[in-house]
């Protein structure tokens, strides 16, 4: 019987969504073009070549190494791309993903990534074209709601602030707006103005966000109601504590 990874405990919809995010088997909800993605990331001009900080691996004349031969380089590493980042901020008001689950999704499903997790933001660093693949995957799928998550290289505290009246997560630098029922970005992720408005589509309804979220909330799926998850956290805690307990 083939092994099937059991990513997460719990019987609630939140736990189920967490399993789904980690598995990478998420629903695609929208299209973002390569040029639009390049624009909002802000690392290079759309259509331009990937700048390189290293020669491609094929030109480096690397020494023989059995491990190197076993591991196929990622496309970005093979081409010698520079390392760039994408950073998401996810609202605490039922945003589909949370920083840890964005990190787990990247680490489990992609190679050559360096995910960083903080309270308000989640950053993935990788070779530029590899990073773009991950960013596109997360932006186009149910991991992201354009109203409750956004790309922010700077000023991330909106994740815990109350939502503005239009339901678009507060952004001090006003990168995202609701226009004609869709969320647009008119600045890149660090807040620099871009040449066109990039359309990320309709926000999720409150009901849909509540259904798809990986965030436990007392007004949706309360953390204390997922007894299996709490028991599992207790088990991790006990084992780590006992590991360091040396009474002799």
């Amino acid at each position: 019987m083939a092994y099937e990874a059991q990513y997460y405990p719990g019987a609630t919809s939140v736990a189920e969504n967490r399993r789904k995010h980690m598995s990478g088997k998420v629903e695609k909800l929208r299209e973002v073009s390569d040029d639009d993605l390049t624009l909002v990331l802000g690392h290079r001009a759309p259509g331009s070549d990937y700048p390189s900080t290293h020669p491609p691996l094929a030109e480096m004349g690397e020494p023989e190494c059995s491990v190197r031969e076993m591991v196929e380089p990622t496309p970005g590493a093979k081409a010698g791309d520079r390392v760039r980042y994408v950073q998401f901020v996810d609202s605490m008001y039922n945003a589909p993903s949370t920083p840890y689950f964005r990190s787990y999704a990247a680490a489990i499903n992609y190679r050559g990534v360096d995910p960083g997790t903080l309270s308000g933001r989640q950053v993935v660093e990788a070779r530029e074209r590899d990073m773009e693949e991950i960013a596109k995957f997360q932006l186009e799928t149910e991991m992201t709601c354009p109203a409750l998550a956004s790309l922010r290289g700077a000023t991330v505290h909106g994740h815990s602030l109350r939502l503005p009246e239009d339901g678009i997560m507060f952004d001090m630098l006003d990168r995202c707006r609701l226009e004609n029922g869709v969320v647009i970005m008119h600045k890149d992720q660090v807040g620099r103005a871009i040449d066109k408005k990039v359309d990320f589509g309709k926000p999720m309804s409150e009901e849909e966000a509540a259904k798809r979220t990986t965030f436990y909330r007392v007004d949706n799926v309360a953390f204390r109601d997922d007894a299996e998850v709490i028991e599992w956290v207790h088990t991790v805690f006990e084992k780590r504590t006992a590991y360091g307990f040396k009474p002799e």
Partner: protein, 572 residues
């Protein structure tokens, strides 16, 4: 627990978030609203920011060099913040601008740290023995009183022994003095009251008895060098300054020959034997001498804060005052400035002592513990619940989920603590302190701290900055390992404990956990009875019984610090 209990923070958040302050136009709404109108008025909505903006403009005009300009945020992009709102100091009705809780803007905070750094405790017994056995000099209460009179002239910088020499202006150093204390009631009765820290008067009877028993018939000097001296030099200067004046004062008071050989013995005994620094010296890589904040153990800090002697019946209050004082010292001053040179650390610290959010969580826990564990959170030793893993899990889980749900039910509480690190401090400090109160065991409290972090991270899928995400996921492993290179009781840990050296936002909480264990038991002190008595002194400029109130007085500019130099500065 009933979910309809009145939250301690509700009134504060209603004033803070639904009233207009300055020109922020935030009037209206409810603290439970998930949506709000953002006016994006920038800094002009806040009186203190307006004052600072004008000061920056005046300064630039006067000196011909640009300075503070709030429009410089984010590389010239004006801030579009929702509102800049003032905060209440927890446990008080003082509302303050949060800029005024930066220690640079707050004289009370500066004085708290000055009063710790400029303090040293020096034993008298070895010096007295040297005088008696080596020189045959009789030491009596009268000679001790005379010595203290001489020392209180010399310690601030007055000359003794030598002819008139350079001296300090007494009005610049009027905060400098030395008192003594002893566990010997008979000797205490003979000491002039101006020189005595009277344990019987300063502490409740049971605490006084315990302290006197621990101190015994030994006698100690509680010395405070001038604030201005310690500001100009460093914490290591304190014992040096004390040592010089103590040696000279003994020579003068006991009519010794300054050159005789016995003076060397006396000097050693008087200057170095039985010296208690508030903080240990740090290793060279941190480059700090004794009496600097990085060396102050959580137990010492617990003892420096004095709430336990004036409100012993409310051990949760003791922990909350300790968290306020220690968050300010460790986060705002030590980590925020000494270790990093940063500014934002104030925000971590203030989360723990503003708007009654931590207070609400901890007092909820007290009710929970007292209901479930038969009064275990009230003061006492026979009422404690055994520190088992089950108890740690139960209290930490209930405390953490209660706190998390407050952030979910009250969006303004979430907005007040808009960074995960703030939330993590508050939730874990509540869980840890509560477990300490219930068990009387600080390491059980520390264990609860780490479980709280795990639960927080799992519930919200996020925790704090990297310090939380790293250190708090490995910390459980060293809680109960007391091997010398791996672990210590929480009272003996400090900012320089290996896993804690850069734990921003943690150290005030750890201190509260240490203090809560002892306050919960009704102990007179946490780790060092000498430090507890030394700071039981109403003459100190900072009131260590109420650090949060003092910070509030500093913020509204009512606190009068020591060490001011107006006497030697041209008046403007």
């Amino acid at each position: 627990m009933a979910d309809d209990r009145k939250r301690l923070f509700q009134k504060e958040l209603e004033v803070k978030f639904t009233k207009e302050h300055g020109d922020n136009k935030m009037e209206g709404g409810e603290i439970t609203d998930k949506k709000v109108t953002y006016y994006r008025l920038g800094v002009d909505q806040n009186p203190r920011k307006v004052e600072m903006k004008k000061a920056g403009q005046d300064m630039a005009a006067a000196r011909g060099l640009v300075g503070y300009n709030p429009m410089m945020h984010c590389g010239g992009i004006p801030l579009g913040q929702r509102a800049i709102t003032p905060s209440f100091i927890s446990g008080t009705d003082i509302m303050v601008e949060t800029d005024d809780l930066h220690y640079v803007n707050n004289a009370a905070m500066q004085q708290m740290w000055d009063d710790i750094r400029r303090t040293t405790i020096v034993g008298m017994d070895m010096a007295h023995e040297t005088l008696e056995k080596r020189l045959g000099i009789e030491v009596t209460p009268e000679t001790i009183n005379h010595y203290l009179e001489v020392l209180n002239h010399a310690l601030p910088g007055g000359a003794v022994v030598q002819e008139h020499m350079v001296e300090t202006h007494p009005a610049l150093v009027d905060d400098c003095y030395c008192k003594i204390f002893t566990g010997d009631d008979e000797l205490a009765d003979e000491i002039d009251s101006q020189f005595l820290i009277d344990i019987n008067k300063q502490f409740p009877e049971d605490q006084a008895e315990a302290l006197k028993e621990a101190i015994g018939k030994t006698t100690w000097q509680a010395a405070h060098i001038p604030t201005v001296v310690s500001r100009t030099t460093d914490g290591a200067q304190t014992s040096r300054w004390m040592a010089m004046q103590v040696g000279m004062s003994f020579i003068a008071a006991y009519n010794m020959c300054a050159g005789e050989a016995a003076v060397a013995d006396l000097s050693y005994a008087a200057k170095h034997a039985g010296v208690i620094s508030m903080g240990d010296m740090l290793p060279a890589r941190r480059a700090r001498g004794p009496n600097e904040p990085g060396g102050i153990s959580f137990g010492h800090m617990s003892d420096i804060i004095q709430t336990s002697r004036v409100d012993a019946e409310d051990p949760a209050h003791v922990a909350l005052e300790v968290v306020g004082g220690a968050c300010m010292l460790y986060d705002q001053i030590w980590l925020g400035s000494y270790m990093s040179g940063g500014v934002g650390f104030t925000q971590y610290a203030t989360a723990a002592y503003t708007n009654n959010i931590l207070d609400d969580n901890l007092y909820y826990n007290v009710d929970y513990i007292n209901d479930k564990y038969d009064g275990a959170a009230t003061k006492g030793t026979d009422n404690k619940v055994k520190a088992t893993m089950e108890v740690v899990k139960d209290i930490a889980t209930e405390s953490t989920i209660y706190g998390l749900e407050n952030y979910e039910k009250y969006p303004t509480a979430l907005e007040d603590h808009f960074g995960g690190s703030q939330r993590a401090t508050v939730l874990s400090a509540a869980a840890g302190s509560a477990t300490s109160l219930a068990t009387g065991n600080g390491n059980a409290g520390l264990s609860a701290w780490y479980l709280s972090m795990y639960l927080h991270k799992e519930a919200h899928g996020r925790l704090g900055f990297f310090g939380y995400d790293l250190q708090d996921q490995c910390g459980a492993t060293n809680v109960f390992s007391f091997q010398s290179d791996e672990g210590l009781p929480v009272e003996l840990r400090g900012p320089n404990y290996p896993n804690y050296a850069m734990n921003v936002g943690h150290q005030g909480g750890y201190t509260a956990i240490a203090s809560a264990a002892h306050a919960g038991r009704g102990d007179a002190w946490a780790v060092n009875p000498l430090i507890k008595v030394c700071f039981a002194d109403d003459l100190l400029p900072f009131d260590f019984t109420a650090p949060r109130k003092e910070f509030g007085r500093g913020a509204i500019r009512e606190f009068e610090p020591a060490g001011e130099r107006s006497l030697i500065i041209p008046a403007k």
